[in-house]
Structure formats: structure tokens, C-alpha cells
């Protein structure tokens, strides 16, 4: 609780500073981290709380982006398009859930992974509506560049805040308890009277709602979307890595992980444009092998002890 409060206060401070003093780069970074917090927190609802290894994040993200993009091209107002995209994605998630949430383990993972491929191919082929592989240009929202950047920072941060509040509320609700039971032992959960099917679908739908809106906002933010960008499988994997970094199944974990991941990504991106996804891969392997419980496993004290034992006695402070 204290930890959550501290992180919340820090996030609000960062947000305020960015809004008042941030240049274009800082604003972009802030919006990106807000998007990452949203995606990681949303994935954590199905992947962390319920323990279902979902790779459908890219599917929800891309569907949200395209739904809102097509709506905006047809003159529907911005807020309606974003909210509508979220609802349509949630509806899609319910249908997908009915198909694959009765599967467990690898089978569920594959089913969810394939969802993004199906949507990408449909988007590619359905040229008359989606523009196909050429992509879709979105109408510009009004205002100058800086006003726009600040608008998107505010909206994305608001969405991230909403996702975190939803996750926090979930941990204290009946549904949250049901999901934790499912993660620990689904058969036992069923035996004690939890409607596991409905709980899982609710979790997937809630998770997809935030991802879908994030995709919709992303589309307006970048003005241009194409299928290989918004249905990219890395969008499914990055939120998982962030959550692993911060700690799976906690409210604060995905937030911490998203910030840490963005930091690492910026470091890697700047130093190696050509090999960045290779470095990302190495990072993932190292993370799974050495820090499976996240950064929380790193204790400053234990590192210090280790350094002390290595140093010669006279050099010890």
C-alpha cells in the first residue's frame, strides 16, 4: 500500500514536470511509458492474476488502432472513436475467450498468439476498408505540435492511471480473488464454486479494453498505422517482459517494469539500431535465467555483501 502510494506520487510528479517543462522528446518518452504501463498492467490482469499466458495483446492493440482509425476517417469524433474502439475490442476478446479460454498452458498461448496473425492478414487483404499493406493515414487532430503532444501525454497517462486503478480495485474484489484461485489451481477453484469460465472471460475482456483504447490513442498519436506495425508480435511480448521485470501478479510490478523496460530500450536503441531486437532477445534470456521473479529479487544489500566478500580485507570500508 505504501509502495503503491509512493509510486503513484512519483508518477504524478513526473507527469507534472513533463507537462510544464518537457521538450518534444521528453513528451514522446512520457507518452510511451504511459502506454507501456497500460499494456503491462492490462496483460497482468489475464497473465498475472489469472495465470493465463496470453499473447493476444498485439491483436487487441492492432484491432483498437484500426477500429478507431477507420472510424476517424469516416468523421466520427475523437473521444467516441476511442471509446468505441475499446468496446469493440472487448467484444472481440469475449468471442476469442469463448473459443480458446477453455484451453490451458501451451494451447491457450498458441491460440492467443495466432489471433494477431489472423487479424493482420485480414487487415492486409481487406484493402477497400483498411488500406491494406500501404497502411492508413489518420486525420490530424487540431492544434499545433506541442499542444498535440501534451494532449496525447495527458490522455495516455489518464488511461494508464485508469488501468492501474482497475488492477488495484480488482485485487480487492471478488473477481480478483476468483482469478487468483484460478491461477493457483483451476480445478480446485471450480470445486469451491467459482464460475471459472465467466471469471476468465471477464479478465480477458477487461484486459483487452485497456489495450484496445491504448491502440486507438496510439493510432491518433502517430497519425499513420500499418498492419505490420500495430499487429507486431513484439507488442505481445514486451508487456510480458515488463511484467516479468517488475514482478508478475502485483499491482506495482508492471508499473516499475514498464519504466525499467523503457530505460533499457532507450539505452539499447541509442547504441545499436541494427541489432536492437537481438539485444532485446538476450535481455529476455538473461531475465528468465537469472531474475525470474523480477527486479525485486535484486537486493542492494546482497550485492553489497557479495562485493565485500570479493574485496581484499584492507580495501573493505
Amino acid at each position: 500500500m505504501l509502495r503503491g502510494g509512493l509510486i503513484g506520487a512519483a508518477a504524478v510528479t513526473v507527469f507534472g514536470i513533463l507537462l510544464l517543462f518537457g521538450d518534444n522528446y521528453a513528451l514522446r518518452l512520457g507518452t510511451t511509458v504511459a502506454m507501456y504501463v497500460t499494456l503491462a498492467t492490462a496483460w497482468n490482469i489475464i497473465g498475472g492474476f489469472a495465470g493465463y499466458p496470453s499473447f493476444a495483446t498485439a491483436a487487441f492493440f492492432g484491432l483498437g488502432a484500426y477500429t478507431s482509425g477507420i472510424a476517424l476517417s469516416n468523421g466520427i469524433p475523437l473521444s467516441v472513436a476511442w471509446a468505441g474502439a475499446g468496446l469493440i475490442v472487448a467484444l472481440f476478446a469475449v468471442m476469442l475467450g469463448l473459443c480458446i479460454l477453455h484451453l490451458r498452458g501451451h494451447y491457450f498461448a498458441i491460440g492467443s498468439l495466432v489471433a494477431a496473425d489472423v487479424l493482420r492478414e485480414i487487415t492486409n487483404v481487406w484493402v477497400s476498408v483498411t488500406g491494406g499493406g500501404i497502411g492508413l493515414n489518420l486525420p490530424l487532430p487540431g492544434g499545433d505540435a506541442e499542444t498535440q503532444a501534451k494532449l496525447f501525454l495527458c490522455v495516455m497517462s489518464g488511461l494508464a492511471g485508469a488501468a492501474c486503478c482497475a488492477a488495484w480495485t480488482l485485487t480487492r474484489s471478488r473477481l480478483g480473488v476468483a482469478l487468483r484461485c484460478i491461477a493457483q489451481n483451476e480445478d480446485a477453484a471450480q470445486v469451491i464454486g467459482i464460475d471459472t469460465g465467466r471469471s476468465k472471460i471477464a479478465a480477458l475482456a477487461l484486459s483487452s479494453l485497456f489495450v484496445g483504447i491504448a491502440g486507438a490513442i496510439y493510432a491518433s498519436w502517430t497519425i499513420y498505422i500499418d498492419p505490420s506495425d500495430v499487429y507486431d508480435v513484439s507488442l505481445s511480448v514486451k508487456p510480458i517482459i515488463m511484467t516479468l521485470l517488475g514482478g508478475v501478479g502485483t499491482v506495482t510490478g508492471p508499473i516499475v517494469g514498464a519504466f525499467a523496460f523503457l530505460g533499457l530500450e532507450e539505452l539499447i536503441w541509442r547504441n545499436s539500431l541494427e541489432f536492437h531486437s537481438g539485444f532485446l532477445g538476450l535481455l529476455v534470456v538473461a531475465l528468465v535465467l537469472f531474475l525470474p521473479a523480477g527486479l525485486g529479487q535484486l537486493r542492494v544489500g546482497s550485492i553489497w555483501t557479495r562485493i565485500r566478500t570479493v574485496l581484499p580485507p584492507e580495501a573493505r570500508p
Partner: protein, 288 residues
């Protein structure tokens, strides 16, 4: 006679498809992990065959078994060093781990070989077989034949060697196999090595008939998934059935809804199968 030609096209891919999925299915069945790296290993096998043909003039059909042997040891080592420590962890961990390895290998190949599509030009071309109106390209026939022979060899190894029986025993019951004196860790590593070897064979055969690129690994992985789910997990006959089924379904699908929709159709088929019959057409209870 169009339908007959389409059937022949589909069947001519079946053996190759079986070969693509055999190693993937073996690893999934025995180690109970999904090897997302499989698609990248297929592409790597394809590049090896491409350069063997370009530099040394070795025919990809002859090179296929060599590609398999070349990839066995890296697979063995990857399992021993990287995958073995996380074997007992939840599904998510092994998935994310092999995904990380794929990102790394794909990026490495992208830097080394660029994203250009490359195809082996066989000199002289092999030509075609003609039966009345029906045409069968010989290179496809060879690829599918060698693919089937490799899958058959894998089946024989699993059936009638001591090593194969050990692998099957570990697949059935890890603890009981361990009590019978089988070295489970070693068996896992060998099974994984066999899986990557099959990926190498499949890649070399693919490079003989299709253009390869470092960007196409996820497509092959998707096919391997579909075939495994179609035929049922972890059985060699299931893979052969699934391979031929996918080949025929794809080629009729391309005829019915257009080739640009063929991939979507096979993925939709996968989701439908997962929803209705996740244990595959041969209907055996799989691992969760």
C-alpha cells in the same frame, strides 16, 4: 481436372510439411515446451543449404541430412545450457525464453544475410512429371519424398533403438523413466537436438523449392503449430497426417478463397480446431 491438379499440389507439399513439424512436435511432446525457436532454425537450415549450393555446389537434396547433422549439436547445447534450468518453471517462462532466443537468432541472420529473399537455382532445372493434364514439378516431389524419408527415419529411431525407447519413456512418464535408470536430462537434450536437426533438414528442403528470408521464420512456426494441432501432439503418424492435411487444405483453400487468404484460412482453422477438438484429429489426450 483442376481439382486433381490442386490435390496433387497439396500432396506434393505434405511430406515437406510433415518434416517442418516433426521436430517441433517431438520437442513439445517430450520436453513439454513450445520451441518458438523452431521457425528460425528452419530458416537457418535453409541458409546453410543456400550457401552450400552457392559456394560448394552441393545439391540441397543431398545437403539436407548434412544440415540436420550440423544443427544437432547447437540444439543439444542450447537445451543443456539455456533451456534445462527453466524446464520445471511455468509455461510462460519457457515460452518467453525461446522467444528471446528467436529474437536473437533472427536478428543475427538479418544482419548476416540481409532480408533479401534468396532461392536456390538448380542447374539444370529438374523439370516436371506429366500425367495427362496433371503436372508435378520434380523438385517438389524430391523435397516431399526426402522429407517423408527423414520423418520415417525419426520414427524408426523412436521405435526401435534404445535411445528412441528412452525418449518415448521420458515422454510418457518422466519420473518413472528416471526410476528405470534413464538419464532424463541427457534424453531431453538429445530429443531437443533431434528436433533442431529435423528443422535443419526441413529448411534445406524448403530452400530448394521456395525463396527463403530471415523474415519468414514466424510463418514456418505457424505452420508447425497448425500441423501439430491438426494431427495431434507428439506422435509421428499424427505429424504426417497433419502435414498432408494442411497441404491439401491450403491448396484447396487457395483455390476457393484466393491465395492471399490461404494463411488466414489455415489460422482460422487452427482456432476452430482448438475450440472444438484441441487433442487433434487422431484424438489422443495431450499434455496440458
Amino acid at each position: 481436372m483442376l481439382w486433381l491438379q490442386v490435390l496433387v499440389n497439396g500432396l506434393a507439399l505434405g511430406g515437406l510439411y510433415a518434416c517442418i513439424a516433426a521436430g517441433f512436435s517431438l520437442v513439445w511432446g517430450v520436453l513439454n515446451i513450445i520451441n518458438i525457436l523452431h521457425g528460425s532454425l528452419i530458416v537457418l537450415g535453409g541458409y546453410l543449404a543456400f550457401f552450400a549450393h552457392l559456394q560448394l555446389g552441393i545439391s540441397p537434396f543431398l545437403f539436407a541430412p548434412i544440415a540436420g547433422m550440423l544443427l544437432f549439436l547447437p540444439g543439444f547445447a542450447i537445451q543443456r545450457v539455456i533451456i534445462s534450468p527453466v524446464m520445471a518453471r511455468p509455461v510462460l517462462m519457457t515460452l518467453v525464453l525461446t522467444f528471446g532466443l528467436t529474437l536473437f537468432l533472427d536478428n543475427l541472420m538479418l544482419v548476416a544475410f540481409t532480408a533479401d529473399y534468396r532461392k536456390i537455382n538448380l542447374q539444370p532445372p529438374l523439370g516436371v512429371l506429366e500425367f495427362g493434364d496433371v503436372v508435378l514439378p520434380l523438385d517438389r516431389l524430391y523435397a516431399t519424398g526426402i522429407g517423408l524419408v527423414s520423418v520415417g527415419a525419426l520414427w524408426l529411431v523412436l521405435r526401435s533403438t534404445q535411445l528412441g525407447r528412452a525418449i518415448v519413456a521420458v515422454r510418457m512418464d518422466r519420473d518413472a523413466a528416471s526410476l528405470m535408470g534413464i538419464n532424463v536430462r541427457l534424453t531431453h537434450a538429445i530429443a531437443f537436438g533431434l528436433g533442431t536437426a529435423m528443422a535443419g533438414v526441413a529448411g534445406a528442403l524448403l530452400a530448394a523449392i521456395f525463396p527463403i528470408s530471415s523474415l519468414s521464420s514466424s510463418g514456418y512456426l505457424g505452420k508447425a503449430f497448425v500441423i501439430c494441432v491438426l494431427g495431434g501432439l507428439g506422435s509421428v503418424p499424427g505429424v504426417v497426417l497433419g502435414g498432408f492435411a494442411l497441404g491439401v487444405i491450403e491448396s484447396y483453400g487457395a483455390l476457393a478463397v484466393g491465395p492471399e487468404n490461404a494463411l488466414t484460412m489455415s489460422f482460422l482453422l487452427l482456432i476452430a480446431l482448438l475450440a472444438l477438438r484441441p487433442t487433434g484429429l487422431l484424438g489422443r489426450k495431450g499434455f496440458t
